[in-house]
Symmetry: C2
């Protein structure tokens, strides 16, 4: 044991230290195979530890097969154990600190500063107090019944939709819903129809699952259902309540057409309702799901209402798919953890959710007005808007301008996070003069200074006239 | 509006009720396309509500495209909106209450009654108090840094393993880890080598991902590495610390051979360390990962130590795979929620974890002794055991007996949940006389009465002599 000293003040037991050292020597060839080890008594004397300590280390080495013991004789190094050292690859890790921007118009970002922390923590505390021990074990892939009942009641309050809690399946957010639905629906037909432009994150999810994407243009009303070729499609993915990113509400006639096509060609419609709670000019839009619960899979999420890291969403699933979904979810990650579900059930049950949405709607409506007004004042009447009646973002059109990846990059370098609509296009190319502006998380002051910075940058980048 | 009455005491606003009714009439053809609606004034009078209420309903119908307004003229039903009613499929839902057994020897079940609720809740409360608002937003797919640091420190305390927190990736449990690893590793090579017998749940996960399973026999020491044909394999899935279900500790020589083969054929080794914390005869086993962090992916879980529904596990990932993993996890479900992670970090930091494991080890050791003793007393010396030095289950061999699916079913009917080892076999057929007995969750009284019931049932089923 040359060159090896025990660290007596270490948290690691002495026996473990001896074991580690000998093991290392065996693996790197310092102790050759079949060579005899010194006796436990001798090593104990040598190291100044009790014989028990050394025996414990040897026992471990025997249990793991590094050395072989034989009665009365010395223990020997086992054969075939030595391996060459592994070269460790360079660390790729980047504990990536998100870049911070002077003005950040990112989309899909609720105002977390206005999140009712105290009330949420109350719900978590209530949930903890009342969570039965049985909920700590596996409880099945569908999600907590009490939460599904609360979601059902809430859907009725908010959308006048009567949903059987048995048709609700809790997910780890909308992304997981889409990820697993793709696996479920694309088993036979790989084609999936998407709106163009669309949400790039969701497009990436579907592409990861090997989907063959067929883009269909969306206009200011939503997907152009007359341009859909439904034959051979496994699914259509749409955002009918507030088309992402253009913001259209899909008209009833297109809704009916979509459902007729789904029935005719046997595909399912995935309806992503990512932010319909925030509608500023009246009641919230009725889901497409209500028109045909056998053909539409409704995907809901609480990420935008509460906070993105919550990771709780839900789907309303046609019954013929439910058994398959259960199997798949069990394989994917078994189920959602119970605490968040129970807290959310409490948050819904006590109507904290309704109050929170009411408050946020007021807040977001103010910010939306501020953004629209500031844009008008800064860019004049030629600047027009899409999708401003709902949600946490708008699309602004700047006639004559042309925004592309180069513009996005130069803006980012100037401290301005802004997304050209063209970067959300799959094939369409009629949106070069539009920008996507998320405002939910921005206070009025930030909005005004952000628009100023945008104007300055557009002028300096040559996409907008100086005066 | 014949046959329609407003529910004035309903929570649903009157405007919403009117909207819902008209929409329904349009969809089912009661209101034909292009037909004129009565004016808002007339309908308001008819229903006894304010004109504003009716206007709100009409505005909604216009926004969603069910009716078309034109200045000065009556609103008309839009064209092409009517669809035939969807027949609703029979509910498949079964809010499946788990069957309860008189004696339940299921495996992988910790004792949730002994779970230190109070201390865990303290950790949750601490986490809630200190969680920064930034953690409510998306924080990336790798998991909370503070938790990864605590896991790193804990791996050092428990396994003398020095892990860079940058190589740790938090997962939603071990199942998700395997599910996504399969997607990652099987992109090119579909073949995956598994121990036979193995964990059927994990086999199902891999099969779901389209893996071509190549079973390799495991004996009482673990996988027979001399029987592996590594060519064309994408991965090998092993449980070297405590082979599931046989319980062997993979000897050093086989470990070295496995790593040599992985290097030669370019496949990765997935090491599932599902319960090595509970080892009764000494230190815990060193992970295979320690021998080659470039070829071994270590999968750890807290389901067995804390509780199954926690859904937090972690993997130690070779660096060339890290970027791909980040991308994939982002698509699959983005990230773990923050509260559970922060609570677990606190539980580790305050050493509640170490104390909990210490306590549970004592408890499980007693139960294990009770089970072994009761089996010996009941079935005599011919009954032998495998894998009893660690974990929460043992394998018992009853020479001459033959256990199969029929036996499992008849036992279940008699109130006895028991798993024949043969049902964990892919191809192997040398385990017909063995049963799997999980005991972690069973108090001594339950163990004794369970063994009695097992004996009675084995005799009545004719697989064991009466005296």
């Amino acid at each position: 044991m040359a060159g090896f000293t025990l660290e007596r003040r270490s948290e690691t037991p002495l026996a473990r230290q001896i074991y580690m050292h000998i093991r290392k020597e065996i693996l790197n060839g310092g102790l050759k195979e079949d060579s005899a080890l010194v006796s436990t008594r001798a090593l104990a004397g040598q190291m100044g530890v009790s014989r028990n300590t050394v025996s414990e280390a040897y026992d471990m080495l025997i249990a793991e097969g590094y050395i072989l013991s034989s009665k009365g004789a010395a223990s020997r190094v086992a054969k075939g154990v030595q391996i060459e050292g592994a070269a460790k690859a360079e660390s790729q890790q980047s504990e990536n600190k998100p870049k911070s921007y002077t003005a950040d118009f990112k989309t899909g970002q609720p105002d977390l500063g206005a999140f009712p922390h105290k009330q949420w923590l109350n719900s978590v505390a209530n949930a903890m107090k009342t969570l039965p021990t049985t909920e700590l074990s596996y409880t099945g892939p569908q999600g907590m019944l009490s939460l599904r009942q609360e979601i059902s009641a809430w859907m009725y309050r908010s959308h006048m939709l009567s949903i059987d809690p048995g048709d609700i399946f809790i997910t780890a957010g909308a992304t997981q819903a889409l990820y697993l639905l793709a696996e479920l629906l694309l088993a036979e037909q790989k084609k999936i129809i998407m709106e163009d432009p669309c949400h790039m994150g969701m497009l990436r999810v579907l592409q990861t699952k090997g989907a063959l994407i067929e883009p269909v243009p969306a206009d200011e009303h939503g997907i152009r259902t007359d341009r859909i070729c439904g034959e051979g499609a496994g699914a259509v993915y749409v955002t009918p309540s507030h088309q992402f990113p253009l913001g259209g509400i899909l008209p009833a006639e297109r809704r009916a057409s979509l459902i007729r096509q789904a029935r005719q060609h046997g595909f399912y419609i995935i309806e992503d309702d990512y932010d319909s709670e925030y509608r500023y000019g009246g009641m919230s839009i009725s889901p497409l799901y209500a028109m045909d619960p056998e053909k539409v899979i409704y995907v809901g999420t609480f990420s935008k209402i509460l906070f993105p890291a919550l990771r709780i969403g839900y789907i309303l699933l046609p019954r013929p798919l439910q058994q398959q979904w259960r199997r798949l979810r069990t394989c994917a990650d078994v189920q959602n953890p119970p605490l968040g579900q129970a807290a959310l059930a409490d948050f819904l049950h006590t109507r904290k959710m309704d109050r929170h949405i009411y408050n946020m709607k007021k807040l977001y409506a103010q910010r939306r007005s501020c953004l629209l007004e500031t844009l008008k004042n800064t860019f004049g009447q030629s600047c027009t808007f899409f999708g401003d009646s709902a949600g946490l973002h708008i699309v602004a059109q700047f006639p004559g301008a042309c925004f592309d990846e180069a513009f996005r990059k130069s803006a980012a370098a100037a401290g301005l996070k802004i997304m050209p609509l063209s970067l959300h296009c799959i094939r369409e190319c009629s949106h070069a003069d539009k920008l996507l502006l998320g405002y939910g998380h921005l206070e009025p002051g930030k909005i005004r200074s952000g628009v100023k910075l945008l104007h300055r940058h557009m002028v300096s980048a040559g996409v907008w006239p100086e005066k």
